[in-house]
């Protein structure tokens, strides 16, 4: 029995020793943090062209590839785009993944341009994810000189969406105000639209006045803006206008005494939220688009202006002077002065707070060192970071529809009496991509379609 006792003791020691030694300490989780974005190499192969193409069709096929490259280059933190040569052979519909991997390509896009009549092209676009060894999407489009940019943007968007599972900016538009059509004697500011890449600029208003604070509805069918009329009249008022993209008709939406401006659409498209001053003080109201019934959202003896709403419609951000200087606040737009929270505590003068599509971040401009610069803050008031510096005076930021970019107006002083305003685009972390307007008058207040 003594032997058994000894064996039992030995086994007990062997089996309990290691376990009891680490029983006193638990596991500890160390948060590594958010990952960096991997840059994917996109290889544009082609265009594969047939011998039958006319010189103008050949030029068109080259332009298609140039637009594709330019589109993907906007996402420079995601894609690095490289070009293949033009090939006068039939399109290769299969891919040797190993060869592509050796070449360092992550995404392969192939084009084929075939003649469609004497002027148009039948474009076939094929794309592959080399890493996953899978075909992404095959698209066929008829392209003419007139619809070239639009069709290539659609094809680019399809490839991007299939690749990332997200919408792109390729089919979005930027609306802005410009004084391009001013004369020496009369300064006018009208509303224009352009593609995300600054091309295809179109004039939308002909009021011969000053258009301010445009906003686009989420369904992209409506646009609201305010107008400061230039005609000298007893009833000169800043009225709010509604523009229908389909009918191209303008109508007065709100003409209360005083300011009717800074309007934005609610995500459901049934209401607008705007600044009204008919009560003597600028306050934020919501207005039903059908009944025009108003509901007050803010109530304070100081001015509340510049509203912006998140995509779910649950949180409103606005500018208020209630703390003594212009600071950014958030509130619940469903009630009066509901859950009002101040989120900015620094800066001499802050302006134009704008939500990103996700609604977790707000970009705004702040007066610093005799100029405006752009800053970003989380909607709970944390994570204040600076986006622009030493890049002129930067105002009026607006997030892109996918939240990856910010368009803004930037002023450059040319001389003591002359300055120029242009619209620039940068990524959400402040990496400047370039200007969208140049030699198009002074361009201000950009608004990105949702």
């Amino acid at each position: 029995m003594n032997r058994y006792k000894v064996i039992i003791i030995i086994f007990s020691i062997i089996s309990f020793l290691p376990s009891t030694s680490f029983a006193e300490d638990g596991l500890t989780i160390v948060a590594i943090g958010e990952a960096e974005r991997e840059v994917s190499n996109v290889f544009l192969d082609g265009p594969y062209v047939s011998e039958a193409l006319t010189p103008s069709q050949l030029l068109l096929s080259r332009e298609i590839k140039r637009i594709f490259k330019n589109n993907f280059s906007f996402y420079k933190s995601v894609f690095k785009v490289s070009n293949g040569e033009e090939k006068k052979t039939a399109l290769k519909e299969s891919v040797k993944y190993e060869t592509q991997k050796i070449a360092g390509n992550n995404i392969l896009i192939r084009f084929q341009a075939l003649a469609e009549g004497t002027t148009d092209l039948r474009l076939k676009v094929m794309s592959w994810n080399i890493d996953k060894e899978e075909a992404l999407i095959t698209t066929e489009l008829i392209i003419s000189k007139r619809n070239l940019r639009q069709q290539v943007h659609i094809a680019s968007d399809q490839v991007y969406t299939r690749l990332t599972g997200k919408e792109s900016i390729f089919t979005s538009k930027v609306y802005f105000v410009s004084d391009k059509h001013s004369s020496r004697s009369k300064k006018i500011k009208e509303l224009y639209s352009m593609d995300f890449d600054g091309r295809n600029k179109t004039r939308l208003t002909f009021h011969r006045g000053t258009v301010i604070s445009p906003a686009i509805s989420y369904d992209k069918k409506w646009l609201v803006y305010s107008l400061i009329p230039h005609k000298i009249s007893k009833y000169r008022n800043i009225n709010l206008y509604l523009y229908n993209f389909e009918t191209k008709q303008h109508k007065v939406l709100s003409s209360n005494k005083g300011i009717n401006s800074g309007a934005i659409f609610t995500p459901d498209g049934k209401e607008i939220i705007l600044t009204l001053s008919f009560g003597g003080n600028a306050e934020i109201y919501s207005m039903d688009l059908l009944t025009k019934a108003k509901r007050r959202i803010t109530k304070h003896f100081k001015e509340d202006v510049d509203p912006s709403i998140n995509r779910s419609g649950s949180l409103l951000t606005f500018l208020s002077g209630r703390s003594g200087s212009a600071m950014i606040y958030t509130s619940d737009p469903t009630g009066l002065e509901q859950k009002v929270k101040r989120i900015s505590y620094v800066g001499q003068y802050n302006a134009t707070p704008r939500f990103n599509p996700k609604g977790d971040q707000i970009v705004f401009s702040s007066w610093l060192d005799e100029r405006f610069d752009l800053f970003r803050i989380n909607s709970d008031g944390t994570g204040l970071s600076r986006l622009t510096k030493d890049f002129g005076s930067n105002e009026d930021p607006t997030f892109s529809n996918d939240g990856e970019f910010i368009a803004f107006s930037s002023q450059r002083v040319l001389s003591r009496t002359k300055a120029t305003h242009n619209i620039y685009i940068m990524d959400k972390n402040g990496e400047i991509i370039g200007n969208l307007t140049k030699n198009f008058g002074n361009c201000i207040t950009p608004r990105w379609s949702k």
Binding site: Y4, I7, I8, F11, S12, I14, S15, F16, S19, S21, F22, A23, D25, G26, L27, T28, I29, V30, A31, I32, G33, E34, A35, E36, R37, E38, S40, V78, N106, D131, L163, T164, G165, K166, Y345, V346, G347, S366, L368, F375, R376, L384, S385, R386, L387, T388, K389, N429, G430, E431
Partner: protein, 265 residues
């Protein structure tokens, strides 16, 4: 002969019975201990999992003014390494030979008057002093101090935090300090393609480290549900290895796999 055979058969039978009993008993004892050891280890592991501690990178930031540096500037700005300078200094110290007479000279006693006389005779080498001063200002250490001072003055402009405590309690334990180094080491290798980055996925990797910080084993502690995401996290851990050497008092915890890395949390 018959009786001998009977005795022999009886003895063999008894031996066989004893042997069988003995084997069964041994197997039983071994099984009991293996099983009890397994149960105990399982219970401990369960307790460990239940008492998980989450350590987040954080920096306490007082918002005193608008940030002066942009996000881009903060990303590109790395604090200069002070370690290099220390190594250099050590080398210089090692190279300087120690003369035997040095100690003897110190031992030699002087009266106060002669000491004052000697001091008055001594010339002050101002050129040398100036030279040393300029050198120090231009050194890496000088730059680092300047940058740190700037950062402190610039209010809320600190970049990614490497502090280990999120609730403001000072962490003084060696293990906690060791954990605080890990995010900085793994993060450069934590890279995701955009289609995975925006999916709000989360996984946790348990790591087992040798005494010198080498990665012995890593396994998925909590899966994200996406194999590619989990593999990218595992790859980041492998690429980050070797980790810093573990101090004597925490070596055991590294080997036991007490560290779980959260991607991102």
């Amino acid at each position: 002969m018959i009786s001998n055979d009977l005795i022999g058969n009886d003895y063999q039978e008894k031996l066989r019975l004893f042997f069988t009993k003995s084997v069964l008993l041994h197997i039983g004892v071994i099984l009991f201990f293996v099983l009890s050891s397994f149960i105990i280890n399982y219970t401990i592991e369960k307790t460990k999992r239940a008492s998980l501690k989450v350590v987040e990178s954080s920096v306490r930031v007082e918002m005193v003014a608008m940030p002066e540096m942009t996000l881009k500037e903060l990303k590109t700005m790395g604090l200069p390494e002070i370690g290099g300078k220390v190594d250099k200094a050590l080398k210089i110290i090692q190279k300087t030979p120690i003369k035997k007479n040095d100690f003897l000279k110190i031992k030699k006693k002087k009266n106060f008057l002669s000491l004052m006389k000697d001091m008055a005779k001594k010339k002050v080498n101002t050129k040398k002093y100036k030279k040393i001063k300029t050198k120090k200002q231009g050194s890496l250490e000088g730059i680092a101090r300047g940058d740190l001072k700037k950062l402190l003055l610039q209010g809320n402009k600190l970049s990614k935090g490497t502090g280990i405590v999120g609730d403001g309690i000072a962490a003084t334990e060696t293990f906690a300090l060791y954990l605080g180094k890990l995010p900085m080491i793994v993060r450069p290798h934590w890279i995701l393609p955009s289609y995975l980055l925006d999916k709000d996925l989360k996984c946790r990797i348990r790591i087992y480290l040798s005494e010198n910080g080498k990665l012995l084993r890593s396994n998925i502690f909590e899966t994200s549900g996406n194999i590619e995401y989990d593999n990218k996290a595992l790859l980041a851990v492998k690429k980050a290895s070797p980790f810093p050497e573990l101090a004597e008092n925490i070596k055991k915890r590294g080997i036991d796999g007490d560290i779980v890395l959260g991607f991102p949390l």
